[in-house]
Amino acid sequence: MRAKPRHPYINSDKISIALVISLIFLFSIVQWTFLSAQSWPLSEQPLKIWMLDIGQGDALFIEFPTGEQMLVDGGPDDSVLAKLGSVLPPWDRTLDVVLATHPDADHVSGIISVLDRYDVSTIYESGVGAHTPFGQAYEERRDSEQAQVVEISQGDVITIGEVTLTVLWPEQTQEGQYPAKRNNVSIVFLLEYGETSVLFTADTEQEVEDEYALQVGDIDVLKVSHHGSLTSTSWGLLKPTDPEVALISLGKDNSYGHPHPVILDRLNQVGAKIFRTDLDGDILLTSFGGEPTIESHPLPF
């Protein structure tokens, strides 16, 4: 009697191969859902603001309760890409909004790479340009990206779901302007969601702070201007805004001596709790419209 031949298409090798492949697939999907700590679509989404630890510069990522994603500045190099890779799911290659406060290298360099790698729908900027290799590279990428480019200035209001961004500075759009110093034409805006208010000050200095401070009133969180430099965070800004939390984005052992001890002292005097990317790593603000919670929350990469 002949032995029954094994089925030609199903053997244990093939089963184990199929098993391994499906396990890897399953693992990758489970891994993401577990990692992302994203709640299921049915539950209420919070507003999330990440101050990313990208070294000596600024890069903030905002995820709105309605799902839109926004990057405010990109930091001094390509570090922001790994940060975005950690906060976005691996298949998400789009960003709804990129806001470039001003084209200095420590704010715009990362944006250039982000425009290379991600599909961006809208770019907000003041229109100010810079005759530097970084400024020129940004303009090239911005012009070749099929994004809507919107110049904004004082008085403009951007509404995304229930979150409003009120632009406080510069006074006018800066198209065609190439000033030698760009800190004082950088975009300042106030983000409000329910009772949560966060002031984004870019690199503005004292003379400008005094001008927009009066329009602000009491706030919860201050993104400290110019990495804690002595040129900014004047009493003229601190007194009317009286922030409870101060976020400072800066590089470890930076050569500028940021943050300046005088500024840290001022922030302590107004009772603001200080978070610093050089000490705390990535910082996450979460708000459901009430009091925001802020914590050091290092991303995996």
Binding site: D13, I24, D77, P90, R117, F301
Partner: protein, 489 residues
Amino acid sequence: MRLREILQSPSKTLAISLAVFCFGIVLGPLVPPVAWEMFLTITVITMALAFFLRNKEQRFTSALIAIFFFALFRFTSAITPSIIPSVADASSSQTRVSGIVSSEVERRVSSQRIVLDDVFVADEPRAGKLLVWAPLYPEVLFGDALVFNCRVEKPEPFEGFAYDKHLASQGILAVCPRPEYIDVHSAESVSFLGSLLLLKTAAVHRLQMILPEPHASFLSGLLFGGSSSLSNDMKDDFAATGTSHILAASGFNVSLFSLTFLSWILTTRIGRKRGLILTTMLIVGYVLMAGATPAVVRAGIMGVVVVLSKWISRKAFIPNVLLLTASVMFLLNPFVLSDVGFQLSFVATAGILALTDRVSKHLAFIPNTFAFRTSFAASLSAIIVTLPILLWHFGSVSLVAPFVNLLVLPLVPYAMWLTLIGLGVVITFGAIAQISILPAWALSWLMLWLISIFGAIPFAFVEPAHAQILAVLTVGVFVAFLIHRRYAR
């Protein structure tokens, strides 16, 4: 007589000849840099003598002497004569420098690493290549002509690592750390190497479009070499866990990949011959796609060595194959021996070929699905044999290195394979097929996560007081073990 026995076996004759050539190259740095003409003359005379001598043994001895002096000639003739001013002789003040970008530009997370040839300093031509660390913008490409201001510096050894010698093995004699006012003139024509690099750039760009960072950098680095765009923190973690070698385009990865792939494909029904041909084609395709840079060609040769060793399937020939590989590389670049990348690649490949089967026998408890046991055994072999090299050059031992390497290294061939498949599917079917890259992403995530977790352990890294003595001792222990094994039988 022993010499006669050797002469009766063609394979032994070849082995001795190649060994003598390699020995000559190894002795090269010890030879006073006298005129290379002298060595050439001796080579010609002894070679001529070899033709005229009647006695077979005398003829062979004469030929061996000729080969030895040819090796010395090859080494000394490649040294840049000190009469021609080199880039290293430039004054230390800010000067106008120009040159042509002579190899692929490495984009790091916050800078570009550029190697210039045909260098002019203050409009005077200089011999040797110049390494330039430029900011990210303006972007520089292979073949571009650059003009900039900079202070040219001689590279110095640091923390016990002979950085100057490492650079010199690539022909780089000086460094420009902070160039200013960089003017980029695009290349007018595309060279063969340039067009190969374009292919690689296109593949890497595709990977960057479908994978987030740091996985795009890591996986493209595994495949094509130069995961240079990883963040400095991440690179520190790799160093602390003793896994930096997987970031280089090295024979390490390619040999591991070739062996694992071969072991797997030989279990399928494709057949032995076709399996070997397919693997060779994959390696050649890889070399072309990775831009055929010297490091990649070297890695490719190491991969082919693995295929060859399976092809001839006679263990006795393996030393010959390795000697031949070393000889060819020394002939092409006599300074390559002082290149850490070469040392690691070569020794890892030799270790993989010599030890994998033996190590594998002790690992029977690991399932061999997808040749996983082979991958694990090969990784272990490579880790063992490269330990003295790491100790010697970097003077540090990562205490977690053996453990992390054992966790991460066997995954390398699979990460490479999954990335290649994912990339292939996306190129064929477009962005819709992006899901096919997810397994590669998951594996990359797991590997990087392991490395960053272990890299954060404070005592992961120790620097023994006499690392180089320890390195020599380790070699001594290996050799003693091998001799013991041989004569215990």
